[in-house]
């Protein structure tokens, strides 16, 4: 797993170099973050799962409080309240909830008889919806989605009955128009509409998607070569070092590069699921499985958005996109996975 992560982050730095117009300070910052993130990962890998288990309710509670604080006194960045200024670092509590929510659900469900009964499901739903809605209020649709997904995966892996699952899914689908009407911001609605027909507004909202598709499409099978992507090197592609970095990759390395990169991701995800199935207790299992699947959601949403099959939501390409907090969060989750992996034999005695 470590090998896979190292390969991925190395590839990420390479693409970032190209996307950032060869800016070394940018690269340096990212490298420092990576280093930090790896340290966090190794640190967490040392903490045994039962320790995590004990901390879980507290972490979740603190996270919720912080989310509330953000809503009340948060910094506004890019039109949304996401940041909490801790004087030393700016910190996004919502990032923390990406880990805390699945932990909390795993903690809760591991104590109940599985598959979960009706009461457990209600409690679980509350535990998931509380942070999700708080984050969606910020508003940060991408993170809210990821938090909700992480929570959902725990419930799914805990063995929720198919009938219940399909029933709630249908109910949720019925909820979508309401969501559309009352809970989404104009810009979020616009994003969805734009995704459905980007050409309707080629210079406005559709610009990102059109340019991104052009970048990927013009890459062809073998790509234009590292540092040779015209779309990305000539500034046509917006946000190319952050959310749209996959378009740079697609343009410069083409279909072949994409296959290799996605395989690498697939390896990490499957490895995570493998660790989950071989974990020794419910908490570890549920947590590991959820974290792995959340990682997949990151990937799928980002690549789907960049290639124009999903709306533009602010989800970075995990471990590759430029940016600090999500990197640390992701690495922390891998740290937990490693811890679960290394502690299973210990516990099986």
């Amino acid at each position: 797993m470590l090998v896979g992560l190292l390969l991925l982050t190395a590839a990420g730095l390479g693409i970032l170099y190209s996307a950032g117009d060869g800016s070394l300070p940018l690269l340096e910052k990212q490298a420092i973050r990576l280093l930090l993130a790896f340290l966090v990962m190794l640190l967490l890998a040392q903490i045994p799962p039962h320790q995590l288990y004990l901390w879980t309710p507290w972490v979740f509670a603190v996270g919720l409080v912080l989310l509330l604080l953000v809503l009340l006194a948060g910094e506004i960045g890019k039109g949304a309240q996401r940041w909490l200024d801790l004087y030393v670092v700016k910190f996004q509590p919502s990032e923390m909830m990406k880990l805390a929510t699945p932990m909390m659900l795993a903690w809760y469900l591991s104590e109940r008889p599985l598959p979960p009964g009706f009461k457990s499901l209600v409690v679980s739903s509350v535990l998931v919806l509380l942070p999700t809605l708080l984050i969606a209020r910020q508003p940060d649709l991408g993170t809210a989605l990821l938090v909700a997904a992480a929570g959902f995966f725990v419930v799914f892996l805990a063995g929720i009955r198919w009938t219940v699952l399909i029933g709630t899914t249908l109910a949720a689908l019925g909820f979508v128009p309401l969501l559309w009407k009352f809970f989404m911001h104009d810009y979020q609605r616009q994003r969805v509409l734009t995704m459905l027909n980007p050409e309707s507004d080629p210079l406005g909202a559709g610009y990102h998607i059109i340019q991104s598709k052009i970048a990927i499409g013009s890459g062809g099978i073998y790509g234009k070569g590292w540092l040779n992507g015209t779309q990305s090197q000539l500034d046509f592609l917006p946000e190319r070092s952050t959310d749209f970095i996959f378009a740079v990759f697609g343009e410069e390395f083409g279909m072949m590069g994409a296959i290799v990169l996605l395989s690498l991701y697939a390896f990490i995800i499957l490895r995570g699921l493998y660790i989950a199935t071989h974990a020794q207790d419910n908490f570890s299992r549920l947590l590991a499985g959820s974290l792995s699947l959340t990682f997949f959601v990151y990937l799928f949403v980002n690549v789907g958005m960049v290639s124009g099959i999903l709306p533009v939501v602010g989800v970075p390409l995990p471990l590759v996109s430029y940016g600090g907090t999500s990197m640390v969060t992701l690495m922390a989750s891998f740290g937990m996975l490693m811890s679960i992996n290394s502690h299973r034999r210990l516990l099986s005695r």
């Binding site: 599985l114 892996l157 063995g159 052009i214 499985g289 124009g308 099959i309």
Partner: protein, 630 residues
């Protein structure tokens, strides 16, 4: 329940979990494959489409406008050049907020109401992503300020352009003309492709007449641009072909001398070389600065020029139609001699007026000299400008023979000079009167036509052209301002040699008789311009003339204060020199200049300079008023 009991428990749960995990894993793989299929669709199937789009994004075809040809005088002095100037342009698509941008730019450079008005108008008529000019001719300081603030204004560009500049604008504008911004009417007539990137087009004068030569051929360049439209590098280039240079026959120095000699008088001076038809001087006064027109003239400036006294924009040399007055007499005299209606030394007695034979009204056709010239032959009639003599010979010739003879000298038709809009003047005939006025020609009208009044109208250009024919004994040229069209490598590509035709008189000696009489105008004892001829180191031949102020094409409401001056007669003078070997022919028309003898010194100054003779100043000056003649 402790943690330990939970973990050791429930193999059922482990199995349940495994099946879910495997299911999830498969789903993940499936979705990943879906992503790959999507990517494959974009990158393989739609690859050509997106590659094209990417190229279109990246490559922009830019027009490389050719440099306009320069215009030189006959001695190589530049009359029209291209000066690098800086212009402020905006690409509206890249400007986030036009109003605030304009307001902010207005604090950095001077933006007039008219600039803004023109800009907003141009905004509406343009192609997407074309840049629109906001201010032209920025000064150095403005360029520096804009460059320093460039980052604040996305979509702003400081474009370096070549602008037309006329270093001697005022002196030559009526010949050279000027360029201006292409207007919509012109867009319909030009090859728009060849004018991509070009802002200017010849509006008047040679700039217009030789537009095709001066403009050149547009070049093209494929350039790589970034998302902001900034050009990063050129990919391939088809260089433009610069326009050809014009070398004029005009002599700037002579032009300036003529201009100065006319002083404050409105009028025209044209001089040409009789042997070649080359125009040496082409002055119309008052004049104006063509540089005002290049980037669009302001309304105030334009009003001043178009409604001001004497209308500076009016090209008198080309459009001004004046009665030739007595300057017509040598031509009438020559016609009479050649038609043998009168002998060279035949006397006509002038007692101050003329009675038309057979006219019962006893109307007196007066001579300008009340007491009459007494015995008058051809030489004396021209030298002293006797009207009665010419009444008689005109009567003998009749209007139609006068018409036919004068026609040979180019009266009544366009000379064909290389300028547009030339007027043809008017050379009447009985047929013409019947056609236009539906009336018969009266014999009395023949008399006044014989002294260059009545219907007769000529332009200054026609006059000099006729003098030139007289000086060269029947050689007719198309007068022309451009001597050479040179291509940009400096190879001579074309030397203009206009057609030349020659006509012969029945008796070639008649040329001598008339030329001698014209010599005596300056050098004879009683010559009307003898004061100008005084002290000349060469022999000049000429003829004075006076035109009454009426029938001028451009007269209109007069300013009260200028009425008196404006009602004065126009003074005319035609000349060629040296008398025995003519090298230059000149025609001067000075509006309200009173009499030809008063404007003769103007011609002398030009000829003195052209023949490189600096004689003592003649006794007459244009300021001194002489008695008027008819």
């Amino acid at each position: 329940m402790s943690y330990r009991t939970l973990v050791t428990d429930h193999s059922y749960h482990a199995r349940q979990f495994r099946s879910r995990a495997v299911f999830a894993g498969f789903l993940c793989l499936l979705l990943l494959i879906a992503l790959l299929v999507r990517l494959g669709y974009l990158q393989i199937i739609e690859n050509t489409h997106f590659s094209d789009l990417s190229e279109n994004n990246r490559i922009r075809l830019m027009a490389l406008p050719p440099n306009r040809g320069l215009i030189y005088d006959r001695n190589g002095v530049v009359l029209a050049e291209n000066q690098p100037t800086f212009h402020l342009e905006l690409i509206p698509e890249q400007v986030p907020d036009m109003d605030t941008t304009l307001a902010a730019l207005g604090k950095i450079v001077r933006l007039s109401e008219e600039d803004l008005k023109r800009f907003r108008l141009a905004l509406r008529n343009r192609r997407p992503f074309d840049s629109v000019s906001l201010r032209s001719r920025l000064d150095d300081e403005e360029v520096a300020r804009l460059a320093a603030n460039r980052h604040r204004f996305p979509g702003m560009d400081i474009a370096a352009r070549l602008s037309r500049n006329y270093p001697h604008g005022k002196d030559v504008v009526h010949a050279v003309g000027y360029v201006g911004r292409i207007n919509e009417k012109e867009l319909e007539t030009i090859d728009v492709g060849n004018y991509r990137g070009t802002n200017y087009i010849g509006k008047t004068g040679l700039e217009k007449y030789y537009e095709d030569d001066l403009h050149g051929i547009v070049g093209q360049q494929n350039v790589e641009v970034n998302a902001e439209g900034r050009v990063l590098r050129a990919i391939d280039t088809v260089p433009p072909v610069p326009g050809n240079d014009l070398v004029l026959s005009l002599d700037l120095e002579l032009q300036q001398i003529a201009d100065a000699a006319l002083g404050d008088l409105a009028g025209a001076v044209v001089a040409m070389v009789p042997q070649t038809g080359e125009v040496l001087v082409f002055v119309s006064k008052p004049t104006y600065d063509p540089n005002l027109f290049v980037d669009g003239i302001s309304h105030t400036d334009y009003d001043a020029l178009s409604h001001g006294d004497y209308k500076p924009l009016f090209n008198r040399a080309l459009y001004g139609q004046y009665p030739p007055g007595s300057t017509l007499k040598p031509f009438i005299g020559l016609g009479a001699l050649d038609d043998r209606v009168i002998g060279a030394h035949e006397d006509i007695y002038c007692n101050g007026y003329y009675l038309l034979p057979g006219d019962d009204t006893e109307r007196k056709y007066r001579d300008w000299k009340k007491e009459g010239h007494r015995h008058t032959d051809m030489n004396k009639a021209i030298e002293e400008s006797c009207d009665v003599y010419f009444y008689e010979v005109s009567r003998r010739m009749g209007i139609d023979r006068i018409h036919d003879f004068l026609n040979k000298f180019g009266f009544g038709r366009r000379t064909g000079i290389d300028l547009l809009g030339e007027r043809s003047g008017l050379l009447p005939s009985s047929e013409w009167k019947k056609r236009v006025h539906r009336k018969v020609w009266y014999p009395g009208e023949t008399l006044i036509s014989g002294i260059g009044q009545g219907y007769m109208l000529t332009t200054p250009l026609q006059l000099v052209n006729a003098v030139s024919v007289l000086a060269s004994r029947g050689v007719v040229h198309q007068p022309h301002l451009v001597r050479e069209i040179r291509n940009n490598q400096g190879e001579y590509s074309e030397i203009i040699k206009p057609e030349q035709t020659t006509f012969k008189l029945n008796n070639e000696n008649n040329w001598n008789l008339v030329q001698q009489a014209m010599r005596d105008v300056l050098h004879g004892t009683w010559g009307t311009a003898r004061l100008t001829g005084y002290g000349l180191k060469y022999k000049m031949a000429g003829k004075t003339g006076t035109a009454q102020v009426f029938g001028i094409a451009q007269d209109e409401e007069y300013d009260q204060e200028t009425v008196a001056k404006k009602l004065r007669d126009h003074g005319l003078f035609i000349a060629f020199a040296p008398y025995d070997n003519p090298q230059i022919a000149v025609a001067v028309v000075a509006e309200n200049g009173e009499h030809g003898s008063a404007v003769a010194p103007i011609a002398r100054k030009i000829i003195d300079h052209y023949l490189k003779v600096d004689g003592p100043a003649s006794k007459a000056t244009s300021v001194r008023r002489k008695r008027t003649s008819n």
